[in-house]
Amino acid sequence: MADTMIPSEEPEAPSNRPPAMHRLREWLQRRYVRHVLIITVVIGFLLLPLCWLLLAAMNQSGGPASSIMQDIQQTIFVFTLVSIPITSFVFAVLVYSLFGWKGKSGDTPPNNDNPAIRTNAVAVITWTATSSLLAGFLVVWGLVELADITANSYGSTSATGQPKTEDALVVNVTGQQWVWTFQYPQYDKVTSDVLYLPKDRPVLFNVTSLDVVHNFWAVELGIKIDANPGAITQTGVTPNKVGTFNVRCAELCGLHHAYMETKIEVMPDQTFNTFMRESGGGKTS
């Protein structure tokens, strides 16, 4: 308590200050600084498992099932990791402010505060530089990852809307209240309410809606795009894991929006071709 009280009536920055490092050492030796730093470290270690818990929660349904989703998860992991020291410090100050500086009943509040931090050049420069470095890191990381994800997810050439490779599978996705249907134009327009995909083969999705705006979200594949009535939007992905995953609608679209989900079945390419033939899709083009 005592180190928070300044017995002067006019808070002023002292003149003839000692060197910065000396002041830093002196500052670090103060009780409340030590306590805040200790609480920061404790909270930081408590929050650290959050990075892995987030990934575990996201992967409960079997993902990631594409390189896009792996990139997204890596970004979430790094951003969470970077934010933990800042979050910990903010909470440490909050906790110490609540309990360390708590006055007792009958205490007289202090007449004045410590000198304003804006006059402390070291603190201002440190704070500004650290914030700028962190923000710059997040911006650069985000832009690089976004470019990578966009390159992988946009499964067609932007000028023509055609698939990037001859091998690509085209799926026409239709959303309507409150069911998805998937048509395979290269397989005699076989249509299904379940999204069947081959592993390790690029897929181009032509997405549209027959009524209101929906959002086609292939959760474990990491792609998500609006389904607009009267328009076709495109996205793409290359599934890299066999399994059962989920399609959801990510745009509030009416009464049964919460139930507008279906399955994704990713299977080996040969199994997929056999399945399509058995479903009446013998005429590949």
Partner: protein
Amino acid sequence: MTRFLVALVSVLIGAGVVAGVAVFASTTSGEPPLLVATPTGMVDTPDGPMNSASLELAVYPNNSDQIAGPMEGVNALYASQGWPFYWPSTTLQVPANSLITMTITQYDSGGRVFNPYWAKVHGTADGTMTVNGKTVSEWDVDKVGHTFTVHQYPESGQPYFFLSVPLPANGGNAVGNANPYVTDPKVVTFTFRTGAAGTYVWNCEFPCGDLYQEFGGPMQQRGWMSGTFEVV
């Protein structure tokens, strides 16, 4: 002590507001009473004997003196709107691991269904249905009245279940005030198997409501063209 009482009263008022909203939402939700499928004994199937049950529904173009239509909760407010509805309930229950035969009597008119996928039969035991005794696997996309489409969300952990049958449209020329419904409705019958227990939703995929793209009104209010489908 005063602070404690103020805090306690505040918490009680908050809990009361939440409870009031819950009671209001529950009493006005408009969920019709449960309609349970009638057991019809054991039947032989290629996989051995199986329980069976039947369920009968009808689809009317609007309410009348003969058929009141949905009147539960907030639905009573819409009674004068002339909306189509399933009857006698949209809250359905069928037994698990059974062969269910459903009969839907369709009195409404119709038109072209937006998505031809809904003009086909999906998920019945043999991929077909009967319309007035005639077996078909799909219907003319320009003459669909409604659909009965059951679906779910796969993350629920229950068995995947998908069923959809088109209900053929009727002409409306025989309809008048004295006789509000056609006298020769389309009677659609189909059979499907249920798996383990689960709760699903169903709705009509033919846009038969009002407002934008005819997906308003009865398409957006439980008790008319949508409901729950419980397998127990």
